[in-house]
Symmetry: C3
Subunit: 344 residues, 3 copies
Amino acid sequence: MLTISEIANLVKGTVEGPSDLIINGLSKIEEGVKGSLSFLHRSDYEPFIYTTQSSALLVSNEFIPQQPVNVVFIRVANPYLAFNSLLEIFYPPSKHKIGIEKQSHIAEGVEVGVEVYIGAFAYISEGCKIGKGSKIYPNAFLGKDVIVGENTVICPNVVVYQNGIIGNQCIIHSGCIIGSDGFGYTQNAEHQSVKIPQVGNVIIEDFVELGSNVCIDRATLGSTRIGRGVKLDNMVHIAHNVRLGENTLVAAQSGISGSTDIGKNCMIGGQVGVVGHIELADFTQIGAQSGVSKSVTEKGTVLRGAPAQPLREQLKIEAMQRQLPDILQRLNNIEAKLKEILKK
Amino acid sequence: MLTISEIANLVKGTVEGPSDLIINGLSKIEEGVKGSLSFLHRSDYEPFIYTTQSSALLVSNEFIPQQPVNVVFIRVANPYLAFNSLLEIFYPPSKHKIGIEKQSHIAEGVEVGVEVYIGAFAYISEGCKIGKGSKIYPNAFLGKDVIVGENTVICPNVVVYQNGIIGNQCIIHSGCIIGSDGFGYTQNAEHQSVKIPQVGNVIIEDFVELGSNVCIDRATLGSTRIGRGVKLDNMVHIAHNVRLGENTLVAAQSGISGSTDIGKNCMIGGQVGVVGHIELADFTQIGAQSGVSKSVTEKGTVLRGAPAQPLREQLKIEAMQRQLPDILQRLNNIEAKLKEILKK
Amino acid sequence: MLTISEIANLVKGTVEGPSDLIINGLSKIEEGVKGSLSFLHRSDYEPFIYTTQSSALLVSNEFIPQQPVNVVFIRVANPYLAFNSLLEIFYPPSKHKIGIEKQSHIAEGVEVGVEVYIGAFAYISEGCKIGKGSKIYPNAFLGKDVIVGENTVICPNVVVYQNGIIGNQCIIHSGCIIGSDGFGYTQNAEHQSVKIPQVGNVIIEDFVELGSNVCIDRATLGSTRIGRGVKLDNMVHIAHNVRLGENTLVAAQSGISGSTDIGKNCMIGGQVGVVGHIELADFTQIGAQSGVSKSVTEKGTVLRGAPAQPLREQLKIEAMQRQLPDILQRLNNIEAKLKEILKK
């Protein structure tokens, strides 16, 4: 519980209205209740500020209400960032456990750092190393010789196959499968698929977060590599020998095919497919549901569509598609007129 | 084993042919064997009735065969529903277990109702409550303070993160991840992603069924909410703060982005993507593989395509696309004729 | 460690350069180091042969370098196959464990063959049979009456529901869910979904490999059937009553809807959707991200697009779409000219 003026101090804001009201929680603007603080970030949520039951509202320094409001304003440069900074104060993250639960399985010789948690039914194979402060939740499986860095969280039911390497400060959400075999076969004369041995591994650098049920395949040879600070949303598929550059973001249900090399700071929307053996330059942005089939060489290119085009071209094409019935009508008219002209 | 006349009684049908034959199982029409009962529901399966080995066939009251048949008809109003009602009679569901298996982990103070099953290697954290008659299968994980209602089935290897609430009479299939963190970051000046704390939860109301490997993210703040009677197919992705209204159905591999509010009784096809922060009216229907980027305000709207259009428009556009080569040809002809005219 | 001439003997190749150099590992051409052997398979990787640090290179008999090279050539008919055959020699697969770990749960009466491995926290229900040499990894769950053939590997955290049958020599990667209920409901008068009992099972024939987090639903009645030699990539969805013919390949994140019957030796790209109740002929090929809504009757048909068209048609349509802005311009020109003509 904090007063409005205490909150204003924390976020370096200025108060418009009574500053001694008590705030005891945060809420979205459309779910505000007495005693809660909300924020206005997107202009399409503005109508809610005239009806919200929240006691206080973070708004931008420039915001001018179009109607009278019944809520205290705290004006800040960026209401979204200010609100996020308050989340951790009002809802401090629950402490992770420390210690090794009895029903876990830890092979002989595994190296375990201080302040580590290993939950019941977690299975740690021979040769593993788990760094200081890392947490291995129940029902997780670490294969032979897996290395987990420091202060990394492996959530329940994660599987890391043999030789996987996971850095420091990572969060691997439940159901992720790291290091299963890539989809690699050759066809024999009878059209049967002969498995190509997948003998590489997966390397996940520091500060990576993987959403639920993400699949990252081991390299055929060498390493599939997830760069520092990469964030993948739920159910992303990363094929063998892919590389994702630092800080790249991939939204849910997208898939990157084998041996593709994606640059730093790229942003890839949801349900995107990227073919194998291409390269995307740093800062490439791909719209949702796109299909990318060619390398992108220019930094900061924005693509959309399937097959993906530069955004401008794609928007033109999409607009044209909606005009197709009109185009056909015009074509009919022209042909009719021509016929008349030629009759004369 | 039932006679045809006993079955006819159960489904309130009328028999055409010998009614004392014994039926000892059910089968699809194309897989019929002597002694089995099948049904004809879709007209494209009609050819099978002239070749099926089944002994009896549920057909509609109106059905008129085009050739002689060698199978007893049981005529009913709706053969599909009649057949489904027989499924439970011929194949009674296997009884769930009751009791707590020794190798499970149940934290102190967990409340467990009567007739509950908790399988080996299931992990139930502090503060959980499990209602009467619910079943927690092996290798499932319930985080801190998870509440499971009555007569709900949590299949093997499901993960429910802390504070998740699951209603009564739900079925959560294997591999579902409920309540992992939403995909929420802000970018700092170095283009790194700074995690926004995800402090809300997931609420699943009564009578919900989730297919395998479904992912539902916790809300940033407040609750991601899955309405009463919702059914999700395998690998559906539900992002943070989404709401799904009562009885809505979502087919496999679709994804709903953050804060989107989907009405009651909607039907969403497979591999659909819906952007964040929009609303879909009740009874909206979305065709498979569509990409929905705008709110739908009118009840019962039917959309298809990417970007999704009203079905009628979309069908026109798709038809036109197939005509494009023809359109180009006509354009060439017109230009040739014009040239001639202008020469004169 | 082998000499170049020993390797040339193994792959039946001819050496160009010093044949007594020692090779101690394999590497991709772009990651070559001293002592490693690489291969040149795709012409777009040719530039690397002039800069690679590898000591030796498998190239085709016909290959003619365009610049001087600093690496020993081993010429063979197919460098790719030759390289794959060396992978198993340089990186012999790690031996699977044998034996039953104490913390596993094996119901009374389960039949377990010789040389089987059952890991800790694996749960084997009543009535299961596990064939000779098969491996059930930790945290896997086999429901009632599941049958696993010989020399099959069930990776960690796999779930097989009751009555599932898995053949010989299969590899089921982590997180696969085999035999959960299909997505089958009827609607009652209140628009609620009434579950159709799903009483069939899943049959997986011999030599099948399933990628991570694949979901295969049990049949409503009868069996969902995965043919001998089928390979599915990560997160493929197979609905109830689907059949996949022998040797068919399905790339990541594709989904096959209920009761569809796919022929032998088909190749289905990534993120493809196939509607229910259709048939695809043997050797059908479907491009990535396609949407297939009609049966394919001709063997060897190649389809692409959504809705999928024969490849030739689809390429034409895609080319035309890119010409749309040009088409519109031409239309404008024609209309202007016509106007002028009609003025005269």
